[in-house]
């Protein structure tokens, strides 16, 4: 076991009266890809949204417990969620480029709206991020066109580039390929292998093959609880829990 980048302790999350996560304990190491699997409604999305404190943006939603990022609990009352979110980036299920912003402005939104205005810096970051997201070649001649004019797969890579532009050490991905065709999906999976060299990726997926292909570790969630967490190769071949085995072999879910 290597050092821990992000450690979750006794995390509980609620939507009003409904408890969506129960006592989650898990640790993430640097430069790994962790896949979160489990049936719909099991709390995977809620879990990643707790890691950048986006969960509490839903009216009536709140979380308790500790999420320790680089030695600091992000749920301490003195912590500003805005600063946490610069360290923990996120890519959503549906591509969501900002409407009425150009491709360029979408990529640098995180920097520009945080106050960085130097054109040369922004240009450099935009190019680097778009190259990282394997989108540069396709959009380098239409940086000033609206971000929403791109195809679905390109929009999703644009959203990845946008998240990468602020250089977060951790990237959360909530089913980033579920709305995409197989070719775009393959591109994003290739990307992940590259991204993992510099950052930690935590990805929700409904696609078991995808989890097996791309992740180092896999966590199986069921009914708001973390059932099993381990090396992907182990979890998919010799799961410890009966429920994990049933789920990955398609017996339920």
């Amino acid at each position: 076991m290597t050092e821990t980048l992000l450690s979750v302790q006794n995390l509980n999350a609620w939507f009003g009266m409904h408890q969506a996560l129960k006592n989650i304990q898990i640790e993430f190491s640097p430069q790994t890809v962790t896949a979160l699997i489990g049936p719909s409604g099991c709390g995977k999305s809620t879990f990643v949204r707790c890691l950048n404190r986006l969960h509490e943006e839903v009216p009536g939603a709140y979380a308790t417990g500790k999420v320790i990022l680089q030695g600091k609990n992000i749920y301490e009352s003195s912590v500003d969620p805005v600063l946490i979110r610069r360290k923990v980036g996120m890519v959503f299920q549906k591509p969501n480029p900002f409407p009425s912003l150009s491709v360029f402005d979408n990529v640098v939104a995180g920097l520009k709206l945080a106050g960085i205005r130097r054109k040369s810096i922004l240009m450099e970051v935009a190019e680097r991020s778009l190259k990282q997201a394997a989108l540069w070649e396709e959009v380098k001649n239409k940086l000033q066109q609206p971000g929403t004019s791109l195809s679905g797969g390109q929009q999703q890579r644009l959203c990845i580039a946008r998240a990468l532009a602020v250089e977060p050490p951790i990237l959360l991905m909530d089913e980033p390929t579920s709305a995409l065709d197989p070719i775009s999906t393959a591109k994003i999976e290739e990307l992940l292998a590259e991204l993992k060299k510099t950052m930690t990726v935590i990805m929700v997926t409904h696609n078991m093959q995808q989890a097996a292909r791309i992740s180092d570790k896999t966590a199986f969630f069921l009914l708001g609880e973390l059932v099993e967490f381990g090396q992907t190769s182990t979890l998919f071949t010799v799961p410890k829990e009966k429920k994990t085995e049933q789920y990955i072999t398609g017996k339920f879910g």
Binding site: R85, R86, K94, N96, G110, V166
Partner: protein, 286 residues
């Protein structure tokens, strides 16, 4: 079995014919209603043009009201007065209304928001003469004089709820996941609202504001108790001020033929202004 199938076939054919006939009749009714609505506008516009155009002249825009019996003159004082009060009313009402709209859409939760929304709806249906009386009591009486400022304030009170509700409705159309995308980048909430949510709806926001401005440009009642009127050219904020609608009203009810004609020209200019405001913004927004 076959006879049952035939019966069902006959029945569905009959139903089909009835449905087609009803659909045709309904489409006809809708078309007639639409034409009647558009016809009303055309009728008003056409009548004003017919009455006004023969008397239309440059002096209407450059001249001042003449004493009774002297022909000619114009409404420069009223044009400038209206421009002043509408501009000031817009300057006060738009930021205020937008701020309220942003509150309702982005921050407003619970009882206070429900109450504010209700108040905005009530305010937009208050008869405009009551708004005039309200400003009369609030501003005119303490100041001991009618003023252009009071007029502008009355107009802004009419504009605020229109802009607020329009802003709220438009911002609610921006999907929640767009806001979350902004927040997830570590952009502060106020920035997300300003640079992403509001910016994304600027087309609709501008259209809403223009419609509001067009509405207050034609308001007469709230100016009667506030700006009053002025036969002279005055743009002093604390003095009575002329306005196009009030001038039209005064001239239209007067017994003098010459003034009646000028009222028609004034009405024509007002309609033209609102028309241009609408078309130009639509064109600019594209």
């Amino acid at each position: 079995m076959t006879s049952l199938r035939r019966q069902i076939g006959d029945f569905t054919r009959l139903r089909y014919r009835r449905r087609k006939a009803l659909s045709g009749w309904m489409t006809f009714c809708l078309t007639v209603s639409a034409c009647a609505a558009a016809g009303g506008l055309l009728g008003v516009f056409g009548y004003v043009v017919w009455k006004a155009v023969p008397h239309f002249s440059v002096s209407f825009f450059t001249g001042l009201p003449q004493p009774v019996g002297e022909p000619g003159g114009g409404m420069l004082n009223a044009l400038l007065g209206s421009l002043f009060m509408v501009a000031l009313g817009t300057g006060i009402g738009v930021p205020w209304g937008m701020a309220a709209g942003v509150y309702l859409s982005e921050y407003g939760r619970g009882r206070l928001a429900v109450w504010v929304r209700f108040a905005a709806d009530m305010l937009s249906s208050v008869p405009s003469i009551v708004t005039g009386l309200f400003i009369y009591v609030l501003i005119v009486r303490p100041m001991h004089r009618f003023s252009g400022f009071a007029g502008a304030l009355a107009l802004s009170v009419i504009l605020i709820p229109i802009v607020a509700r329009n802003t709220e409705e438009l911002l609610k159309l921006v999907p929640q996941h767009i806001r979350e995308a902004g927040l997830a980048l570590g952009i502060p909430r106020w920035r997300v609202i300003l640079s992403i949510v509001l910016r994304g709806s600027r087309g609709g926001l501008t259209t809403g504001i223009i419609l509001g401005v067009a509405r207050i440009s034609g308001e007469t009642a709230p100016l009667l108790f506030t700006a009053l009127n002025n036969r002279l050219l005055s743009l002093k904020w604390d003095q009575p001020m002329a306005s196009l609608p009030v001038q039209i009203y005064t001239y239209a009810i007067s017994p003098f033929e010459d003034w009646n004609v000028q009222a028609w020209v004034g009405a024509f200019v007002l309609v033209l202004f609102v028309f241009l405001l609408n078309t130009v913004t639509r064109w600019v927004m594209k």
